[in-house]
């Protein structure tokens, strides 16, 4: 009798395994976003997954679940330790955030805990000043910082996030000491500090700064990326202004699964998801919201993660 049951169970499991490979996905998929509803990551995740139910994409809808807290650590801790690696639990990643956090320690994940699927967006950090600020270029900022070491205050959203990395790189490239003020409440609070004149400048997301500049509240002095942004063709990069700042602080957003997810599921997702991102409806909504898109395949993301890990380890070693 016991043999019979074991046999039946084995057969069922075998069937389930076969079915998984052939018919994945057979039920709706969940995607965890480690930031609150309404934030930039949540907003973009909802747009890029809105066509998941189409026949040419996954054929099943993707539901977004928010697990915010501690700068994303809560959600990624949950994803690394408790999420089922069955292909029905995806998560959004933010690079450099989770890599920088895993280097600093105190979390239960590293870049080895996750398998990337595809990248959808790249939001570079920019340096903003209030509309009435005396600074007109990064050179003005650096000159002021050289004359007043440690006295130039500039805001950003917390420690060990893209903004902080950009701040560290700017200080290192210019060889100056400035006062980085991490705010609680994300990029919006950091932007408010700049507009209200509480700080002299700030590092912020290109997408948010673009909107604030359009509203006439701030000016953008430089982009921390390798090339100019199509949203801001007139704003020079940091490198054009003589500051050796690369794209390490660019906030890459994409989809990943936990380690241990079946290889065939990963392959299928890696093949379909980039095409789903490339859907013209998605591109139109992203463009309208001022969110820069940057689609990368699984292999490209793997290379990007490895490169980022390398740079961040060097940059954060001195802290």
């Amino acid at each position: 009798m016991r043999k019979l049951i074991t046999g039946a169970a084995m057969t069922l499991m075998g069937l389930a395994g076969a079915a998984l490979a052939e018919e994945y996905p057979e039920r709706p998929i969940m995607m965890m976003v480690s930031y609150g509803a309404g934030g930039a990551t949540d907003f973009q995740a909802r747009i890029v997954t809105m066509t998941a139910g189409n026949e040419d994409a996954l054929g099943m809808p993707i539901a977004i679940i928010n697990k915010p807290g501690a700068g994303g650590r809560v959600g990624w801790n949950w994803f690394a330790t408790q999420a089922d690696p069955d292909g029905y639990t995806l998560a959004a990643y933010n690079v450099p955030h989770f890599i920088a956090q895993s280097i600093k320690g105190g979390v239960q994940y590293s870049s080895d805990s996750f398998e990337p699927i595809a990248n959808w967006g790249a939001d570079p950090a920019v340096f903003v000043v209030a509309a009435d600020s005396p600074f007109n270029s990064m050179a003005d900022v650096v000159a002021h910082a050289k004359e007043n070491p440690g006295k130039l205050t500039f805001s950003g959203a917390g420690l060990f996030v893209g903004h902080h990395i950009a701040a560290l790189q700017i200080e290192k490239a210019a060889g100056v000491k400035m006062a980085y003020i991490p705010t609680k409440g994300g990029g919006a609070a950091a932007m408010k500090a700049v507009i209200a004149g509480e700080v002299m400048g700030g590092v912020n997301n290109l997408s948010d700064a673009f909107r604030a500049q359009a509203a006439g509240n701030v000016r953008i002095l430089g982009v921390a990326d390798l090339a100019r942004s199509e949203f801001l063709p007139d704003v020079p990069t940091m490198q054009e202004q003589g500051l050796e700042v690369d794209n390490s602080s660019v906030n890459f957003r994409g989809v990943m699964v936990p380690k241990g997810t079946p290889q065939e599921v990963i392959d299928q997702l890696a093949a379909t998801v980039p095409e789903m991102f490339a859907n013209p409806r998605v591109a139109k909504k992203m463009q309208a919201g001022g969110s820069p898109m940057h689609i990368m395949t699984r292999d490209e993301v793997k290379a990007m993660w490895a490169a980022r890990e390398q740079t961040l380890k060097e940059l954060l070693a001195g802290l």
Binding site: F43, G69, A70, W78, G150, I181, A196, E198
Partner: protein, 503 residues
């Protein structure tokens, strides 16, 4: 007067249908424990993908206004505040429901909400440019003093004595330190993975208010079943309106406090109700009735939390900075249609901007009408036998805590805090000051650290925190508030000792 020009758009068939749907749906969502206004609006965003920008925003605006008011239903009838905004409503509202005056409490809360809400939206319509400057005037040092002002309220709020009030406030302040510190990145008191993100305020609210109540019901056992059926008094809307007019002080203080505090980014919505409640109590001629089912308490709290709705959108609409979590979700609703808040919104899409604002105005009225309609029916909840009631409240509490971020960790937090609070209540401590500590702790701390960092790099801490008109004004209010509480405490002690001496 642009807003009158676009009033017609609100009443086109589809728009009005959405407004109606948003209002009724919002009331139901708002009355469900654990579904805060932020969550309710976030849930509705996907529906707006398929609508025109104007219609989508009508739906969101209506839902926002009515969820805030709907939170009063569970606060009054079940003693589960759906969001921090409703904490103050439970203090007197639930007492009224227990005395069979649930219908009256609900009617008053909806009427007060409508008055406060309409005032708030009118402020948004007429004074937006002025209010935007005011919202920006609050820097880290001012927010720090504002939080300290909130702390001074703790002692006098709903406790057996000032010392016990302060002590439970301190417990709240300590609980607030749990989790990752966002500014410095340090880990504090994280003994369990479910505490990694700190204590979620919604889960804490449900635990602290609802669970002790459930335990009390269970503790009574079967002996008293049936003996405690409360007679629910009928109450006419006309009487409620008269009552509201007879309480201009509570209505006025609630509305004005809500409007002013609602404007301040990041602080407003959470403490507006509690501050208004406390101020009304201090100025009222019937102080001793507060906390025992007094109508002024409900009126002040509800007028304040709906008055905050309009002003809380000022930073978003003018500066493109979301000042509250709900505003952040609304920002997503605008962006998805390619509309940037700020001058772009009012210059290039006035139809969207004004129809949205108008829909909140009409939404307030509709919300009030529907609320009054269901108030009589809803109040019968008090007749449900206690054993059944305990089970319902417990189930709703677990559901509410879980649904905040689909996490069992929050349910454990809720249960632990609830059981702890049950025993604290036995010793005369109360949940309201504890929650106030939990809310104000992070505001005071992060603004002090941030202000300190700015001060160290610039003018020095002493002059940063202690100079400037707004700082000095806030410090003066703090001192006055402490002095008033101390004086009242001394006076009441003198009276009691006299009475004891006579007895």
């Amino acid at each position: 007067m642009d807003f009158i020009f676009y009033f017609g758009d609100v009443f086109s068939p589809l728009s009005f249908l959405l407004l109606l749907g948003g209002t009724i749906g919002g009331l139901i969502l708002g009355a469900t424990p654990g579904l805060s206004p932020t969550m309710a609006v976030a849930l509705l965003i996907p529906f707006t993908f398929h609508l025109e920008a104007v219609q989508g925003l009508i739906l969101l605006g209506a839902a926002y206004t009515s969820t805030v008011a709907g939170g009063a239903v569970s606060a009054i009838l079940l003693k589960i505040p759906g969001a921090p905004a409703n904490i103050a409503t439970t203090l007197d509202g639930h007492q009224m429901a227990k005395q069979g005056k649930g219908a009256k409490a609900l009617q008053l809360s909806f009427l007060a909400s409508a008055v406060g809400g309409i005032f708030g939206v009118l402020l948004l319509i007429f004074l937006t440019p002025l209010l935007a400057e005011w919202a920006l005037a609050f820097g880290p040092s001012h927010l720090f003093w504002l939080a300290i002002l909130g702390v001074t309220v703790i002692g006098s709020l709903d406790s057996a004595s000032v010392v016990k009030g302060l002590l439970s406030g301190c417990i709240g302040l300590w609980l607030a330190t749990i989790g990752f510190d966002d500014i410095m990145g340090a880990q504090r008191f994280i003994f369990h993975p479910s505490l990694g993100g700190g204590i979620n305020i919604i889960a804490a609210l449900i635990g602290l208010f609802a669970i002790p109540q459930v335990l009390t019901m269970f503790a009574k056992g079967r002996r008293t079943t049936g003996a405690e059926v409360i007679e629910v008094q009928k109450h006419s809307v006309l009487d409620a309106t008269k009552e509201l007019i007879r309480r201009p002080l509570a209505l006025g203080i609630g509305t004005i406090t809500g409007s002013i505090i609602g404007l301040i980014p990041g602080v407003g919505g959470q403490i507006a109700g509690l501050v208004a409640y406390d101020q009304t109590k201090k100025f009222s001629s019937e102080k001793e009735k507060f906390g025992k089912g007094h109508s002024e308490g409900v009126i002040a709290a509800e007028a304040a939390n709906n008055a905050m709705v309009g002003p809380s959108l000022v930073p978003l609409l003018t500066l493109s900075i979301p000042g509250s979590p709900t505003a952040a979700v609304l920002l997503g609703g605008l962006l998805i249609h390619g509309i940037f808040p700020g001058s772009d919104l009012f210059d290039n899409h006035p139809d969207v901007a004004w129809t949205f604002i108008n829909s909140m105005l009409v939404g307030q009225v509709l919300m009030c009408l529907f609320g009054l309609y269901v108030a009589g029916l809803a109040a019968r909840v008090a007749q449900v036998p206690q054993s059944v009631m305990a089970a319902i409240v417990l189930a709703l509490s677990v559901f509410g805590a879980y649904s905040v971020q689909s996490s069992m960790g929050d349910v454990y937090v809720m249960a632990c805090l609830g059981i702890g609070m049950y025993f604290l209540e036995r010793f005369g401590f109360s949940a309201a000051p504890l929650v106030l500590g939990l809310i104000l702790g992070p505001i005071a701390e992060s603004n002090f650290i941030q202000g300190g960092m700015i001060a160290d790099a610039t003018v020095g801490r002493a002059s940063y925190f202690l100079s400037g008109g707004l700082n000095i004004f806030l410090i003066a209010v703090v001192v006055a508030s402490v002095a008033y509480s101390a004086w009242m405490e001394l006076r009441s002690r003198r009276y009691t000792t006299k009475e004891e001496a006579q007895a």
